[in-house]
Structure formats: C-alpha cells, structure tokens
Symmetry: C2
C-alpha cells in the first residue's frame, strides 16, 4: 500500500452517477488532502465536472469507458456484459492490479458483489464474503454484518464473520479487543436456530485473543450499542437494517407533524430549531453510508445508490480508513490465529 | 361465543403479576362494560385487589391456584410442572372448555405457546402456529407475523401465515380485502431465499378472494405501512420487531438529550411540550401491546412481560376484539377457501 491512499471510483454507478461521485470525491479529499482517485467512466462527462472542482486539482486520473451497469441489471447479466469493460469492473480491477487501495461504487449491490468475487477472489479461509455497515448507536457506532451479501448461513460462516467484523472494528474504533455479539431472538442459550447455537459454542470455546465474544444479543441491542460488532445472517441483517431506517423515517414524520400542529408547537420548534437540526444530522443516514465488502482479496465499498455527494464522500472516507489501516492484513492476521475448525 | 365476552386471565403471569393484571382488567372493562373475567391465581392476593376496583364489580370470578410459571422456566419444564395446575394452563383450558372466549397472559412466551399447543391443539390445515402483532405505521397499523413463535419456515407455512394474518386484518381493520406482503431483502422476483420465492409463486397463483397479495416488501415498508399484513419467518420477524423498538428508544434518547442541551432548546421544549407528549403517546409501545397466537383452536393473547396496567389493558382489548368478531371462524372460512396445496 502506498503512503498516499488511492481510491478507484466507479464514476457511473448509482442513481445520480458522476454528478454525485465527483463532488463526493471533492468533499472527501478536503478531509484527506493526500488522497488521489482513479475515476472510471465517460471522459466527456467527467472531465468538465472534475475541472470545476478546485479541491480535486492534480488528484484525479480519468480512465475512459462508456459501459456502465444499470441499477436493475441482474448480477449474472451485469457480469456477462460488463466484465472487463464496465466502469464498475475496472474500478475493482484497479484494486486487484495494485493501482488503487480500495474501490468505491454506488452501483447495483448484486453486480458489485458478483464482479468483486470474480475479479478479486475470496480470501483463503473464507467461505463467503459479507457486507458490513456502521450502525449508529446511543454509545456511538457498531459494526453490523452481514447486511445482505449472502442469504442463509451456517455456524462456520457466522464465526468467520465474527472474525472479519472484529478486524474491521479494531480498525474503525481503534480497539484492541472489540466485543462481538451474535444476533438472536433471545439471550438464553437454548434460543435460536442451529447455526446460531453452534456458532455460539464455537466462539465460546475458541477464546480468540483479538476479540471478546459477548454472547447472544437481540434486536433492541443494535440501537443500544451493547457490543462493538453484531453478527447475523444476511437475510435477517438486511431486514433489520432497513427496519431501523424505516422506523427512523417514521418517527421523523411523526415529529414533523407534531411540531406543525399548534401555534405553541410551532413556537417551540422555532426556539428548539438548532436542537432539531442536530438531531436531523444525527439521524442522517448519509453519515453512516457505506457497506464494506469483507472476505475478498481487496477492499470494495458499496455506497447507497440514492446517496447525495455527502453520502458518497462518507463511503470514500470509509474506504480511506480501511486502506490506510490495512484492513486486509488485519483480517489475515486474525484468521491465522483462528483454529482450523473454522478456516478448514 | 356468548354475547358478553368473557376473558380468562393468567393473573400470576408477567414481571408484575396481579398488581398489573387486576388494574389492567379494570381499565379494559371501562372501555367494554359488558366484559367479564375468569382470573386464575392466588385468591389471597387477588381478592383484595379486585375488591379495591369498583370498575370490576360483579365482573370477576377468581379461580384459585398457587402454582405459577416463572419468566425464565424452559417451555418443557413449564409444561411438566404447570400442566393442569398452573394459572397459565388453567387460563388456556378455560378457552378450550368454552368457559372463556379468549385467554390473556403476560407470562413466559415459550411456555404459553407450548401449553397452548398441547391444550388447544393447532387448527386443522395449519402446520405451525404463529404470533402476530399490530405494528404502528405512518398510515395507522399493520398486522405483522410471525414475531417469534417458530424458528425456520417453508413456503407452505408462509402461505398459511398470509391467510391467518389476513383474517386478523379483516377483523382488526374492518377490511374486506386486506393487502398482504412477504418480507424480503428486495422487491425483485429473484431476491430472497427459496421459501420466500416459492411462497410468492403460490400466493400469486392462488388469487385468494379474501386478500390481495401485494408482492415482496422490505424492512423500510414496515414503518411505511405499505401493506395491511406483512408475513415473515419467526427469527427474522422477532429481530425486526425488536430492532424497531430499539431504534425508537434510541431516537427518544437523542431527542431528550438534544432538548436539554441549550437554554433555547429548553424554551422550545416548554412551548412544544404538548406536541412532545403526543409524540411520546404515539411511540408508546404499550398502545400496541399484545401478540396474537394464530393457528390454534382458541384465542390466546400474549402481553409483554414488563408491561404496566395500560399495556395489559391493550392486550385485553385485543382479546376482546378477536373474540367478539370471531377470529376463529374467520380463519376457518378463509382456510376453507385456500387450495389444497397449502392445507394438505
């Protein structure tokens, strides 16, 4: 890894493409002045956008391609049509070839994961990759995975995810020994499905040095921040994540309506508007944007497809952190210390 | 069913036992003056509590038992020790024997479900029971099931739940043809696990007259109230429910902290306090308390173990509604109209 972190960007990905990616990159570079970018996409569109951003001066190399992956392409179709040629593939390939330290795309999640697996390959010792996100909690943030890479799981996969999630938590939260919980329907030993119960047994027995296995956690523990890492299967994790997003929006709607119903409430809103502003910022999903693909031979970050420049910049920040603190080596070191039962 | 609804109460269940159950019953009776109760529990405790509630005058028959199920008893242990004798069992048995129209307990969920299955039996055509709850949405409420009765599922069970959930929605929301969604990680046809995909195919093909199959819904659709009924497997449903509860608490904590940080915010809070009060009431989980056991030969409602009298009263209200509108017959009628592929 170079001292100066270089991020490859799928400049055509997401609902808004270059009009979000370029200002997002500018915003992120303001916070990390040494950072450089490889931008893959349509030169004719990208060149003027980059030129208009003084914060990107001398930091961007544009690699021309007009082939991009549509948000509703099926993964298999995207791979067939986009392999080698598309902005998404080339951004990933730049990581594989050592030209970039991490790739960021706001494109179609399924296609991005399929291409990442083919192009980068999964790490030795890892059965299936996972997507991790930073979940805002009352204590700060937790790493939660898998939020949708794989449907269905077994105990070994849950243990692998515990190891990878802990590696990410060590980096992001700068902790020596993060706590890890397994998401379940109760905290008692007999609760849950076979995979969760068996994973709990394995994690208790292994007593790995680099993280502390906490036990089962429940849905309420996510917002509470009970553990630094929460591990679950991808179907459940995806639904939990979107349920929390939906609940936050629902409460925001209640709040808006309550604050505009009476004159007294409107006066109250006027005085408390800075507090509301702070709350809105705290609840802003863009702040925690970015899904980290774990278990691949390279760093790939998925930005939410509908994010604005601020959200895309948060995904670049995350890519920068992962690359600078050498996520890959941290995961490899931790896997090396994991008994063979898992890495077999 | 008698004209006057009679509810049997496990008066010893829950974290607070009779001190919540008795005032909860009084509160509910204020709203449904014709209602009567069979209360199962320790006479020495119950008699003075009931006598102290004028709203319960002439409405309560106490059935003495000193055996109760602890909140942390394993279901198998609870059945062994409490079968026939405990307040929980007897409350359920009163429904089986036709002495009560519905049973309510705030006791241990696993024990209540195990006893209900043994005592009442599952309905013909139903593989496994489910627990349904009323989920608050921006549009009102939705029926969501299963929130934790069964871990793991198959397509047939999901279809059964769609039918039972729709029956409940017809009653609670007074709708002729409620909409039903299957909870999934995306709305596209190829998304999800095999059970969900197969259930979607079955529901599309069946075109049942008494509800409209909407398609897949995501976690964000829960708070949005996209469909009247949302069907999912019990592990995921339980985690989604608790994640939403946790998120609501988290945002309430943010809000409290934001409103007390500056003088201006405090002044704003003062003026808007009625609006905050309305919001608090809207977010109050007690309002939507009560899990309905569906798929049994009788109505059993689970109240949250830590609820106060207000929450317990909401569970009784739900039991009253289910009994008065003959939930059992509505489910049976709808199952009769369901093709044999499912009810086989």
């Amino acid at each position: 890894m170079s001292q100066r972190v270089c991020i490859s960007l799928d400049a055509m990905g997401g609902d808004h493409g270059p009009s979000t990616v370029v200002p997002g990159a500018a915003l992120a570079r303001e916070r990390h002045p040494g950072m450089t970018f490889l931008m893959f996409g349509d030169e004719a569109i990208l060149t003027p956008l980059v030129a208009a951003e003084p914060r990107l001066e001398g930091a961007v190399e544009i690699r021309h391609t007009t082939i991009s992956i549509a948000m509703d392409d099926k993964p298999s179709q995207a791979v067939r049509q986009g392999r080698g040629k598309s902005s998404m593939w080339q951004a990933i390939q730049a990581v594989r070839d050592g030209h970039a330290d991490a790739a960021v795309s706001a494109g179609n999640t399924g296609a991005l994961m399929a291409m990442s697996k083919i192009c980068l390959k999964t790490m030795s010792g890892i059965e299936r990759p996972a997507i991790a996100c930073l979940w805002p909690t009352v204590r700060g943030e937790s790493v939660v995975l898998d939020v949708g890479a794989t449907i269905g799981t077994d105990a070994e996969h849950l243990v692998e995810m515990a190891v990878m999630g802990a590696a990410m938590a060590r980096i992001v939260f700068d902790l020596d020994r993060p706590t890890v919980g397994l998401l379940n329907v109760g905290t008692e030993e007999m609760k849950g499905n076979e995979a969760v119960k068996e994973a709990a047994r394995l994690l208790r027995e292994m007593e790995l040095p680099n993280f502390a296995y906490h036990g089962f956690v429940e849905g309420t523990d996510l917002g509470r921040g009970t553990t630094d890492v929460v591990v679950t299967e991808g179907f459940t994790g995806n639904i939990a994540l979107k349920t929390a997003e939906g609940t936050a929006k629902q409460i925001a709607a209640y709040l808006r309506s309550a604050m505009s119903r009476t004159l007294s409430a409107k006066i109250g809103y006027f005085f408390a508007r800075q507090a509301f502003e702070a709350l809105r910022e705290k609840m802003n999903p863009s702040r925690a944007n970015g899904g980290v693909f774990l278990g691949l031979e390279g760093i790939v970050i998925k930005s939410h497809g509908s994010e604005n420049a601020q959200g895309f910049a948060a995904a670049i920040d995350l890519a920068h952190d992962m690359a600078r603190h050498d996520l890959m080596r941290t995961i490899r070191d931790m896997l090396d210390q994991t008994p063979a039962v898992v890495t077999a």
